[in-house]
Symmetry: C2
Subunit: 418 residues, 2 copies
């Protein structure tokens, strides 16, 4: 089998369907999303049957418990996927928005109107719910989607795509609107990354390795998502109870996600007072602490932090702590080691809060709140396709609007350029 | 000499300076731009001396007349560059704009604020004025810039960069704010294309070959600019005098630029009437015509258009003409051969104008106006760094705003995620 031809054929179908999608009304898109949701629930048994195959193969292949859990579907998770689609249906359609419109001295009326991107490519890993989420968001924004999920979830993904595609087409979406690459070879993904002329954007969703591979190899435009080496800096005049609550929340509420705190910076004036209590509480919650030399003096018995600790995204119940002499030292540390995702200061100083907001270069910069809020739902976007850590096109949580582009429309009466 | 190290050092300087640039006030940036303009005029003799070297070498190397003209500087062109900088100084600063701000039910106040991109890379060809234009626009938007011009203009570029950098630093911009890669090896450009972590965006400005090479090789985010295979479609009930004026303007006013018309589509109902007159006028203006079979019947003696004619961007006084049976055929032709740059319909039909605006997927879609208006100045942006033909981040003419990104700032009172 010619893998390249196979991938290009899928992309061609998505592109042809994309041209039709752009003209589909909001009402039709919404009825398709509701039908997709209903079809998922009605065919739960088929999905679970396919998922069992994936789980079985995964167990034989020795997948970790965590990975198997991500892979696993059950009635509840299928219901959640369906509810997700219904929620997307209830969101406002970004397509057609007139972003701005103005008249030039020569009488030309120029408008910027929001339109779909075209074909969105998603490369993702084990979780089959991404298949449904991504398809729903892309379709609502008027795009078609080319999906490439992980090999571990292939049986689940094929079944899910069959079910939702049939439902979508039944309500009037174009054949080809959801394309799944069923070949799970690395080669198929590599071909997909270079589909200029077919793919308008490629969004990798997964671990740091996947994202790096896509950024390295893709020639189509990419939106980089995910990696978050997030810091919380507790300033000298912070409210220490507030600081404690935020640190515990940012570290432990869901440690495996990109907006969880990975590093704690503490001003030296309060380190003696703050670190023993927070250290004890974090340890009690199962967090492994690693510290700079000063931290290790205050919290004897914890591991010393190595250079690589300051760079790493643990995605786990591990926290490295550094005592800093000044706000400047904290800013410098974040500049050097941060991944421009989410950074927070806990302070009661007006001046320091302003400086932190201004000087930290990240997708989301917080004063007195947990980094865990960097999320499309928490921001009020109603949905999220990922969190962009790059600066082009979209930065931070991406909702439906970030899955669109604009074009200029110009109304003239015969104007020519002088 | 280690080319890689050389390029990385330049990029490092630009990055370090970029961090300082973000905090520089509009007033300081503007005074730097005015000082740069004054310095160009005051040192015109030095620039002309360096430019003479480039011209001399270029002549020996057998550069074409057109290329030598693009390379050539004179008092007038230096004055134009200086005026360009003064104009950029007079534009509103996009940095600091609060794009939107809202309060969540939990009391979090979330704002999206416009900030500089950081370091902008520009790879360009022979024209030394791009050095000044690009530096001015990048600095005004709070960025630093890493420039890589063509080897033909290297002496001019070095002199220009020395002069404007000294002026900029004299007014308080950070050392390193304008970095020129003086090694004109292809290798230096290739290294620049993969400077992830240093370059926030790379904008190629030049011919199709340069742009293709950047898109193919870059791992940093790229904004693709330029290629325009632009169509004008004259509908069955167009005002033929208006159509004539627009066609002549779009083809002949400046044929070597990307928003010039390259293809003319004519509805069959008016082809017999329209083509003889427009054919005669275009021929008189020196335009070489190539036609589909029906066009060749109406305009005997012109060359037949080959398949490759429909695909090509001539950038010259050449025009291919096709007679179409319907609006649908015109839309299909544009879909297949267009480069999503600028497309126009000349019509008096309300329905057809609406369909054209809706169904054509391009950066700029016109009704009854010349495609030549796709331009930052003509759109009223006051400046232009290029015309994006991709869909991510920016589409169409890019002004200062397109040289920025945003970040989210969040004001809390101790909120944690539940």
């Amino acid at each position: 089998m010619d893998i390249r031809q196979y991938v290009v054929d899928k992309a061609k179908k998505a592109k042809t369907a994309g041209r039709q999608m752009a003209g589909i009304s909001t009402a039709v898109k919404n009825s398709a999303l509701y039908a997709m949701a209903d079809a998922l629930e009605a065919n739960a048994d088929k999905i679970l049957f396919a998922n069992e195959k994936d789980i079985e193969i995964g167990k034989k292949a020795g997948l970790s418990k965590a990975l198997l859990d991500r892979l696993l579907l059950n009635e509840g998770r299928i219901k959640d996927m369906a509810e997700g689609l219904r929620q997307v249906a209830s969101l406002a359609d970004p397509v057609g928005e007139i972003v701005r419109m103005w008249t030039r001295p020569n009488g030309l009326q120029i408008g910027q109107i929001r339109v779909p991107l075209g074909v969105v490519g998603i490369i993702y890993e084990a979780r089959p719910n991404v298949t449904v989420d991504a398809a729903g968001l892309c379709l609502k924004a008027g795009n078609t989607v080319l999906l490439r999920g992980g090999s571990e979830a292939i049986h689940s993904n094929i079944e899910i795509v069959n079910i939702i595609t049939e439902a979508a087409i039944g309500k009037g979406l174009p054949d080809g609107c959801i394309q799944l690459i069923e070949i799970t070879d690395r080669e198929a993904a590599n071909i997909m990354m270079r589909l200029n002329g077919y793919l308008d954007v490629l969004i990798p969703r997964g671990g740091a390795g996947l994202i790096r591979s896509v950024v390295e190899n893709a020639t189509v435009p990419v939106i980089e998502t995910g990696v978050g080496n997030c810091h919380v800096y507790v300033d000298s005049d912070a409210d220490l109870t507030m600081a404690e609550n935020i640190v515990i929340n940012a570290k432990t509420q869901r440690p495996a996600v990109c907006n969880a705190m990975e590093k704690l910076l503490v001003h030296e004036d309060i380190a003696d007072k703050f670190l023993p209590t927070i250290g004890e509480k974090l340890t009690a919650l199962g967090v492994e602490l690693r510290g700079c030399p000063r931290t290790c003096e205050i919290l004897p018995g914890i591991k010393p932090a190595l250079e690589e600790d300051w760079e790493r995204e643990y995605l786990d119940l591990v926290l490295a702590i550094k005592v800093v002499k000044t706000l400047d030292e904290a800013l410098e540390h974040i500049y050097i080691y941060g991944t421009k995702h989410s950074e927070a200061i806990i302070t009661n100083s007006y001046v320091n809060s302003r400086r932190f907001l201004k000087e930290v270069d990240a997708a989301a910069v917080y004063v007195n709140a947990s980094t865990r809020f960097t999320d499309g739902f928490e921001f009020g976007f109603g949905a999220e396709i990922g969190i962009s850590t790059q600066k082009l096109h979209a930065r931070g949580p991406m909702g439906l609007k970030e899955l669109t582009t604009t074009k200029y429309i110009i109304y003239g009466e015969g104007q020519i350029r002088g």
